[in-house]
C-alpha cells in the first residue's frame, strides 16, 4: 500500500459499467516525509476521501478486489484514510 494525498476528483460520465457509482480521485503518491514522489494517478475510492486528505491506496490486481463489481479494471484503489504517520527513523 502506498501513501498518497488526494489532490482532486475525476468526473467521467462515459466509462466502463464496473466503475458506475464509484468515485474517481486524483492522488499524488507521497514519500515517508509526506513529500510528492512520482506522478499523480487516478484511483477508485472506497473510503469517501476528499481532496487534501492523506490516504493510502493498494495497486495492481488487489485494487479490483474491494470494489462492488469484482470484475473491474481498477489498478489503484484508495483503501484507507490516514490519521497520522509517525516516522521515527530516517
Amino acid at each position: 500500500m502506498i501513501l498518497a494525498r488526494v489532490i482532486g476528483t475525476v468526473v467521467a460520465t462515459r466509462k466502463v459499467k464496473a466503475f458506475e457509482g464509484l468515485k474517481l480521485m486524483i492522488v499524488q503518491p507521497l514519500d515517508e516525509n509526506i513529500q510528492p514522489s512520482g506522478e499523480p494517478l487516478v484511483a477508485t475510492d472506497t473510503q469517501q476521501s476528499g481532496p487534501g486528505q492523506i490516504v493510502f491506496y493498494v495497486a495492481s490486481r488487489e485494487a479490483s478486489l474491494p470494489l462492488p463489481d469484482p470484475f473491474n479494471p481498477s489498478d489503484a484503489t484508495i483503501t484507507g484514510i490516514v490519521d497520522s504517520v509517525d516516522v521515527q527513523e530516517g
Binding site: 484507507g80 490516514v82 527513523e89
Partner: protein, 90 residues
C-alpha cells in the same frame, strides 16, 4: 521480496475492514548493503516488527492473501521476516 527498514507507523481509523487489527508499518526499501533506496511503502506486520528493524517484505498480493488467509483481501505488502544479516559475495 526485498529488504526494507521499518521507519515508522501509520494510524488509520477509516479503512477497509481487512486492515482491522493489523499493524500498518511504514517501510523504506534498502539495497543489499542496507543503503536506503528512494521508495517507501506501507506493509502489514506479521512478525511484530518494530521501528528500526531490517525486515523482509513481500510485495505481491497473491501470496499476501494466502499468508493472511484472506481470499479477497485488498492487501499487497507484508512484512514476512526479520533479517539478521546479509552476506554479500564480493
Amino acid at each position: 521480496m526485498f529488504i526494507g527498514k521499518v521507519i515508522g507507523t501509520v494510524v488509520s481509523t477509516l479503512k477497509h475492514e481487512i486492515y482491522n487489527g493489523r499493524k500498518l508499518l511504514l517501510v523504506k526499501k534498502l539495497d543489499p548493503t542496507f543503503k536506503p533506496l528512494k521508495d517507501s511503502l506501507i506493509a502489514i506486520d506479521t512478525i511484530q516488527a518494530g521501528v528500526g528493524d531490517i525486515v523482509l517484505i513481500n510485495d505481491e498480493g497473491n501470496s499476501a492473501r494466502q499468508i493472511l488467509n484472506e481470499e479477497n483481501g485488498c492487501i499487497r505488502s507484508l512484512i514476512v521476516g526479520y533479517i539478521d544479516s546479509v552476506d554479500l559475495a564480493e
